[in-house]
Structure formats: structure tokens, C-alpha cells
Symmetry: C2
Subunit: 398 residues, 2 copies
């Protein structure tokens, strides 16, 4: 059985909590040899984050699958020496400390590249490793606030709104994986490593794409417009008889013409206010009540089915329980997977969304207990034996 | 000057509109040789999408920078033969047609891998290339609705809310780039190509991560909770004297203790209802009005500065104009870049958010006119001359 596209790539994962560990998880799911380095005694903060299964954090267990765990107290000189020996043997190092933390330890990129010039050093922070705000602490909500995403999410008469999923953390983690893999390609061609510096804020600025472009080109400031869209109409949520909203995405003239037929309003297909997408966007406020009057006549499930039967893009608005029970998402696409953790028994976790025909990423082995692989990993990389490990533990080095 | 980490990688980009072109843009920004293949006469639909500069779509120009453009009418046999010759010389092909479209043309993954077994075939669709919903049209709003993200975005007394940025399209595009680069590593080791299949819905299911985990572990269904957060408190938006909300991210006990001091409420640091993060999350409704009473005494700018001066994570909620004018985001991090387009003159576009020390991605050359590089690319790859190109155009093959 294939172990994954990244078999043989060694990653030192010093990350904590969410965005960094998600990057390490992607690489581990893809078969990389990911070694999670934690502070002795306490470890990754997220070991203490809910939700729990017994005493174990499912938050931590999910994001740190496919990683072996070692401990290192990097404030001790001996630990630093061990760390530098590990860096010599690694392809990639990732961290999401506040910028400057690694430098204070004497282990910044400039120092590490002297030790291993082909090392790829990946980092995630709120604002990136240079610029006037670089030393500020960055959290997901800060990324959502300063990227402009909150300013365009929500309702015209309401407040700027945070997206319920941690999209800054997750897009930064995914971005770091992308940057690292590009750097890996370059390293294989040239032998040269490099630093890949990802900011939570930058990652969401990128996701704003065409919304920012509206302002950059024409100076019009995008607003909160509820569930409708700047580019196309009717493309929005609509109420139904049973109180469950659905979404309809009439993204072109063909869909609009079918929708009009379904609504028994073929007179609207070529109505001068609605004949083109441009006109429909301009006159969205006229169109919405017409569609709502029609959608209110149906139960949500029947309405989605009717629209899909006629090839109009439509969908129910799922809650998490519906996502987890869906025959396509949870069934065919296997987006959730049961995995065995010695700490917690069988646990359902989110599976990899990369569906790859030759090297399918996924769950290989559970998250480590704190320092679980000290002997195994330090043995493998540095030739240490049990006695040496005991000594290092006694000296609080590991 | 370094041309980028992916110099020498040839990508056939058959994608349209947003998610697929964003993937091609990432690869092109990183120096890959991206050849955009469009339908003759009309081209990518997004050439007609606002915002416009004169007659040219800034939407299209931004997402299709760093790509050379050719045309091919793949309904014609001669065009299919030309396409297959190109596939033989390519490392990567990307498309975001509705699943089945390439198969109907006789150009599906199974057919193409016969022609080039080391081809990496990347595709994005609403629901992926297998499973009961695979033939449904997928749009960003459908991904947001069916992933559960809308169900947890917005206010407790309000409707499920669409995120204002196209996060399904963009996360799928970024995910496809990641999957392709992992597959490229594998291909370089083994010579084997593969199919990388990304779904808009799956991409956002992944972004739900710890929110889904709450349900998967304990059966509690995550709700819309406005701008506060499931994991930590106070971590929310707060009103100020000038009416501009700000965000504060008190993610641990240290920040809470500083915040209490700033509020002149040191009595709260060890209050039994607030002493731990767990307690603060439970009692968020008690804490919010206390913080609000304090934040309302300050103007937003002063308040953010005060909090940052004391190392409490905080940020203004920026609109797009503020993002585009910010000294860190637009200044130091160069997240917007002026680029010259022969069609439109100087245009400000969103820059690459991958900050890489050796191979910085960015704008290299402008988006192509329709078929602009027919002679150059078909000449380079297949040895065609001007006469041959004229013939193909006369026969409506290109």
C-alpha cells in the first residue's frame, strides 16, 4: 500500500493550536514523516482545548494525527544542540510562534540556514515576519477583522460579522502547505532551501479577490449585502414553507430562463429589467420578492429537488449534523472517518479533502502522547539509546 | 533574477471563472509555464464579468495574469488531436468543468493517462468527481450552504449567513494547488501521474474543523453565535464611542488578566465565574456587558492602540478601502501591486500572499487576449508555423 505522495520528506513541526498544526496535518496525511516537537510537561496548548473525550482533547487529536511526538525544552543549551542536529536531517521546519520567538532562542531562519542551507523554514503568524505590525499577536478573529472579510459579511442593517469557521487559521495553514511544497520542488532542483512566511491577514486578503477588485478598479466600497452576491442574481438564500431557507444560484441566463418557467413567470425571461445578468444584479431588489413568493409555496426538500431536477443550482443550508449524515459528503466522499486512538477509543474526525488517485491522503496513525516517541525518534535521527533518553529527561532537556 | 519555484513546470489550464483560474494563478505566480486554453470567439466566461476597465474585465485580468493564452475548439477532431499532443508535453492539466464534460469529449482522465502516464490531472467541481451529487452544478454559495459554514455564521436571532468573500471557490483553488504540488513531488520520485479531485463542498467541510468536531464528539450542534467563539472568551467584537466596532481576542488567562487591569476591574481576574477560559466561555453573557461598558468609553482607534500597547490581541474591523490603504498590509506586505496591462493600462491587483525568500511569487506578465499566444505556444510545443496557425483559424479549430 502506498504511504502517500510525501513519503520520505521529514518535517519538524513546532506549531501549536490550529493554523500551524493544520499545515503539519496536511503534510502528515500525505505521508510525510512529521515530528511534532513540544515543550516538556505541558505541550501544545490545544491539548487542553475542548471538546474532550474523557481527558483527551479531540481538538488536539484530530489536528495532530499522523505525527510522532518528542519533547524539547529549547531554553536549555543541550536541547538547542539536539534541535540543531535534527534540523540538519530535516527537509522542512514549521512554526507559528509570534515573530521573533525563534530568534530570541538563537534558532531563527538566519541561524538555521547556516546549519542546513537546504532547509525549508515555514512560518505562520498574524501579520507575517516583517512590517510594522509583525510583532502583534494574531488570532483568527484579527485576521477576519483586518482583511476586510467581516466588513462584507452579514446584513445591510447589521454589524460586521465573523465567519463561524476559523477561515483565517485554516487558509493560512493550507497556504503554508502550498508554499512549502513549491519550495520543496525548488529545493529538489537546486538544493536550496528558503523561508516561507504566511500571515493570517494576508491569507484572507487574498480570499477577498474579486470583492477587493471592485474597490481597486472603480473605487466603489463593497458593503454587507446579506446572502446575495455582487456578481450575479438571483443568487441568494430564499425562505420556504417549512421555515428552512435554501440557496439558489442563478449564475447565468440559462438558469434564469429555467427558473422563470418553474415559477410560471415566462414573461420575466426577457423582461427589460431582467434579461441579462447585469440587469438582474441592478434590479435584484425587484426580483427577490417574486422568487420568495414562489419559494414560500414549497417545503425546502421538495424545492431543492425540483430545482435540481431542472438543472438550476440549488442546495439546502445544512447544519453540522446534516453534513455529517449526508450520503454524498459523509458517504461517498468519506469526509469523516472513524479512527482509533489509544487514549480515547474510536473517534470520528474530519478526513482529508484531497482526493488523489495514486496517493490518497488520510488517517495513518493517532496523535502522540506528550514525548511518546522520544526514544524512537531521537534513536532514529541521532542514534540515542534508552539510557541517554533517561538522562535527558532527568536533566529536563526533554 | 529568479523566475520562481515552479520554473519549468508546464500547466495546461482549461479552467474558467474563479476557483480553477485561482489555482492556475498560484502556479503561474510561482513561475510555472501556464497555458490557458479557451474556447475560440468567447473564451472564459469571466472575460465578461465586472468590474471593467474600459472593455476589459479586471476580474479576468487579475486571475489570469502570468498565463499565456491559446484557443482550441475541442468539439473538432483536429483540435482534440492538437490537445492530446499538448498533453504529452505537459506536467499538469487543470479543469473545473462539471464532472463528465471531459469524458464526453473523450478527454477524461482515463483517456489522458494513456497518452501521458505521468500527467497530473487536477479538477475542481462543486461536489467532486464521484458520489451521488457529482453531476450537480456547484457554485460558491452551494459550497457555503452544504458545508455547514452558513449554519454557524451570523447572529443567534438571524438567518444562516453567507461569508462575503468567495471562500468555497478560493479554498478549493488553493487546495488544488496543494494537491498538485504534492503529486508533482510524487511524480518526480516515481514517474507516475495521478488525478487530484477537489470539491468546493469538501474544501469548506475541512475548514469547519473544530466546529464540526464539537458535534462529532459530543453531539452538541454548533449554532450561530454572532462574533463570539466556541473555544475562548471574551473573543468577540465590541462597540466603541465613535460607532466603529473593534475586535478583542482574549485567548488565554494572561490576556484576561491584563484586560481586567485596563478596565480597572482587577476584582474580576480571579472571580470564580471568570478565572479560567472554560469558565469565561460558560459565562460569556455575563462578561460581555462589562467589557462593552468599558469599550464604549473610547474611540476605536485609541482603544485598539491601548490594547495593543498592553499586548492584548485587538484589531479594527477594516473595510476594503482601509485594507488597501494600510501601511502594513498594502505597504510592508505589498498585498496589492500595480501592474501594467496593455488592454487597460496600470491596474492595481491583489498580490501573492506567499512570501518566499528565494523564489518570491508575484506578477510577471499580464493576462492574455483571447488566442494571443496561439502562434508562440503551438510553435514552441508542436512546431507549428504562421501558415499552419492561419489554416487552423480558418477551419475554426483555434
Amino acid at each position: 500500500m502506498n504511504k502517500g505522495a510525501l513519503e520520505g520528506v521529514t518535517v519538524l513541526d513546532m506549531t501549536r493550536v490550529l493554523s500551524g498544526p493544520y499545515c503539519g496535518m496536511i503534510l502528515g496525511d500525505m505521508g510525510a514523516n512529521v515530528i511534532k516537537i513540544e515543550v516538556p510537561k505541558t505541550g501544545d496548548d490545544s491539548r487542553a482545548f475542548p471538546p474532550f473525550v474523557g481527558d483527551e482533547s479531540a481538538y488536539f487529536m484530530n489536528l495532530n494525527r499522523n505525527k510522532r511526538g518528542v519533547t524539547l525544552n529549547l531554553k536549555k543549551n543541550e536541547a538547542k544542540q539536539i534541535f540543531l542536529e535534527m534540523v540538519k536531517k530535516a527537509d522542512v521546519l514549521i512554526e507559528n510562534f509570534r515573530p521573533g520567538t525563534m530568534e530570541k532562542l538563537g534558532l531563527g531562519w538566519e541561524a538555521l540556514k547556516e546549519v542546513n542551507p537546504s532547509l525549508i523554514y515555514g512560518c505562520i503568524s498574524g501579520f507575517g515576519h516583517y512590517g510594522p505590525y509583525s510583532s502583534r499577536a494574531g488570532y483568527d478573529i484579527v485576521g477576519q477583522a483586518m482583511s476586510g472579510v467581516m466588513s462584507v459579511t452579514g446584513w445591510a442593517d447589521g454589524e460586521p460579522t465573523r465567519t463561524g469557521a476559523p477561515i483565517a487559521d485554516m487558509s493560512a495553514g493550507l497556504s503554508l502547505a502550498t508554499g512549502i511544497l513549491a519550495a520543496l520542488h525548488y529545493k529538489e532542483k537546486t538544493g536550496k532551501g528558503q523561508k516561507v512566511d504566511i500571515a493570517l491577514v494576508d491569507s484572507l486578503v487574498t480570499m477577498m479577490t474579486i470583492i477587493s477588485q471592485i474597490y481597486l478598479v472603480g473605487g466603489r466600497l463593497p458593503q454587507r449585502i446579506g446572502n446575495r452576491y455582487e456578481s450575479t442574481a438571483p443568487y441568494d438564500s430564499f425562505p420556504t414553507k417549512d421555515g428552512q431557507n435554501i440557496v439558489i444560484g442563478c449564475a447565468n441566463d440559462k438558469f434564469w430562463s429555467i427558473l422563470c418557467k418553474l415559477m410560471n413567470r415566462e414573461d420575466l425571461v426577457n423582461h427589460p429589467d431582467m434579461v441579462t445578468n447585469k440587469k438582474r444584479v441592478e434590479n435584484h431588489a425587484k426580483i427577490k420578492p417574486i422568487v420568495v413568493e414562489w419559494t414560500l409555496q414549497y417545503n425546502s426538500k421538495d424545492l431543492v429537488q425540483l430545482l435540481l431536477d431542472h438543472e438550476v443550482p440549488a442546495a439546502p443550508i445544512y447544519d453540522v449534523a446534516q453534513v455529517a449524515a449526508d450520503e454524498h459528503i459523509a458517504g461517498a466522499r468519506e469526509m469523516f472517518v472513524k479512527a482509533n486512538y489509544p487514549q480515547a477509543g474510536e473517534l470520528t474526525i474530519t478526513n482529508s479533502h484531497f482526493k488523489m488517485s495514486e496517493t490518497q491522503p488520510g488517517f495513518h496513525f493517532p496523535s502522540p502522547n506528550l514525548g511518546e516517541h522520544n526514544l524512537e525518534v531521537f534513536g532514529e535521527l541521532l542514534g540515542y539509546d534508552e539510557e541517554k533518553i533517561k538522562e535527558l529527561a532527568a536533566d529536563s532537556v526533554i
